[in-house]
Amino acid sequence: MGISIHNVSKTFGNFNALQDVSLTIPSGKLVALLGPSGSGKTTLLRLIAGLEQMEQGQILFDGEDTTTKSIQERQVGFVFQHYALFRHMSVFDNVAFGLQVRSRTERPAKTEIRAKVRELLRLVQLDGLESRFPAQLSGGQRQRVALARALAIEPKVLLLDEPFGALDAKVRQELRKWLKQLHHALQITTVFVTHDQEEALEMADEVVIVNKGGIEQVGSPVEVYQRPANPFVYSFLGRVNTFTGKVVAGEFQLGALRYQTEDTRRWNNSHVVGYIRPHELEVAPVSGGEGWAAAELTHISMIGPLVRLECKLIESGIPFEIEVSGEQYLEITKQVKGNLYVNVKQMRLFATKESPIQLEEKNHIQSVSLAVSELKA
């Protein structure tokens, strides 16, 4: 089922959680609502579920207005961040709950419920655990009980709030893959909220980047990662260097550093900020000629197969990062004497007046390397 969201606003007291948000979620897709904490992504999810009332706007399920529909009528499967399993019920009763509370006329027979629960538990690979209580399950198992419980009501939409937030890294990795497969098998329109860009890029068919109560960009993981619509998306979806410079004669200039493309020519004679991913800088032990700038190496860290070089431009002292492969790194260290030289391979320009990059978010988010998702993209 497709969901259309039209001009939705929601405030909590003085806080504008969502402002005039419009979004279309195509039927059968796996969509990520990605944003920093407090961006309004969870509020949007709760509005879709009907757990929250909006002040303005409309949410349509397959073209049908849901504004007056109660949560019970919407038939959404909601998986809560901390699962919200009924702690006094066994796994079986948790999963059966949605069927057992149906009115007598709609409720399936006991044997039918039993068969259905069994089938769901098999689907989430928890068969044999039906008499356990939530407290006797691991985090990953609880997550899957919550999912089975939500699926029991045959929802038209599956909504997941930070589905992997409370799990440790290894379990999270497994569950992501598994959930993606499950979605592929079931083909239910699924929306999940996450603050982890790696998770969003890896799992989703479509990523919706939410920030400060609005939507920054919607697109496939490749689109949003490779063509960020604005500086926020650029810095939110991975590590990025920013070089503030000037475009003179169609050429970006920052000291000795030069860069020229179709794009830079459009920015002629203006001050701009260049956004460069750490792998979009070329590095060499000697200067490659014009456009290359000298840099000082300040710190080196290993991040899996890559090596991150933290550097400083000699002329201006501006800090930046480069990511190179292990072999490249060895090559460079063999030959380097004193300074390194860098050159811009690729850069995106934005006007200086555009929203400054939020440093806290950047630090928070960028602590994860994007190397993996990048390769996939």
Binding site: V101, A135, G139
Partner: protein, 297 residues
């Protein structure tokens, strides 16, 4: 409500001293009086004890006490659940005021509470003339006793449930609703099982207080023998008449009620603690996770 008894083993002399002190204190102020009550009551033998209780006036007092408890306790249980529900699950203006009001009966002397009702419903009171006109009797009658008891005992259930419900949060209720449950199903199948031990404990405390209340009831009762005397009032009357064996015999009933309350309370706390351990996932989860019983791949 749950006390985690994970203190270290007492070995230090100071610890022993403290334990000894509290035991002496407990003995002097609780155990000795309790023994005194029972020994006084049984002074004249079991026969005298039983016949003291079997007096018509005493039986009437017992019946009245039970009647008052049967009315007051369910009322306050319903009120307590409702109050705890709105306080724990909703944000609204005047929430703190409501919390303060719930505590009021605990802060006000029961005698004052009793006078409050006399001032309201007494023949010289605010509603007195109107009540007299309609031939309704509240003060110095059973309705007054019930009202005073309800007032004095209404904090117990609510106070017990508010922290429990606050710590539980809203998630499970929201989950139930999203799965299609209506309000009643959500309460009955999800909320109630989660608060049942706290609720039972609150009800038991409320009951003990309802049966044992003296001050407020004494003011509104009028001490009409066989009609408006509850057990505590009957004990006082017998005592004032120097009928010690009878006074202590009836008092044993309240003492037994107190002991039963304490026993039930301990059982409840034990159960509630077990429940919180069950609900404290991480301790157990880790054990499972290190066991590697995760099926996902």
């Amino acid at each position: 409500m749950s006390h985690t008894n994970q203190s270290q083993r007492a070995t230090h002399p100071t610890a022993w001293l403290m334990i000894a002190l509290s035991l002496v204190f407990l003995g002097l102020f609780l155990i000795v009086p309790l023994i005194a009550v029972f020994s006084e009551a049984l002074k004249g033998g079991v026969g005298a004890f039983l016949s003291a209780i079997d007096e018509p006036e005493t039986m009437a007092a017992i019946r009245l006490t039970l009647l008052v408890a049967v009315i007051a306790v369910p009322l306050n249980a319903i009120f307590g659940v409702a109050a705890a529900w709105v306080i724990a699950k909703y944000q609204f203006r005047g929430k703190n005021l409501l919390l303060t009001l719930i505590d009021l009966p605990l802060a006000v002397s029961p005698v004052i509470s009793g006078f409050l009702f006399v001032l309201l419903f007494g023949s010289q009171g605010l509603l007195g003339p109107w009540l007299a006109e309609h031939d309704l009797k509240i003060i110095f009658a059973v309705p007054g006793i019930v009202l005073a008891t309800v007032f004095v005992t209404f904090p117990y259930v609510a106070r017990e449930l508010i922290p429990a419900m606050q710590s539980l949060g809203n998630d499970e209720e929201e989950a139930a609703i999203s799965l299609g449950a209506n309000g009643w199903q959500t309460f009955y199948r999800v909320t109630l099982p989660n608060i049942k031990w706290g609720l039972l404990y609150g009800v038991i405390l409320c009951n003990a207080r309802a049966m044992g209340e003296f001050g407020a009831v004494s003011v509104v009762s009028g001490h009409i023998r066989g009609l408006t005397n509850t057990i505590p009032l009957q004990v006082e009357i017998l005592y004032n008449e120097y009928n010690f064996v009878a006074a202590f015999s009836v008092a044993t009933l309240l003492a037994i009620l107190a002991i039963v309350t304490l026993i039930v309370k301990s059982i409840m706390e034990w159960k509630a603690e077990r429940q919180t351990i069950e609900q404290e996932p991480d301790m157990i989860v880790r054990a499972y996770e290190t066991g590697g019983s995760i099926h996902g791949h």
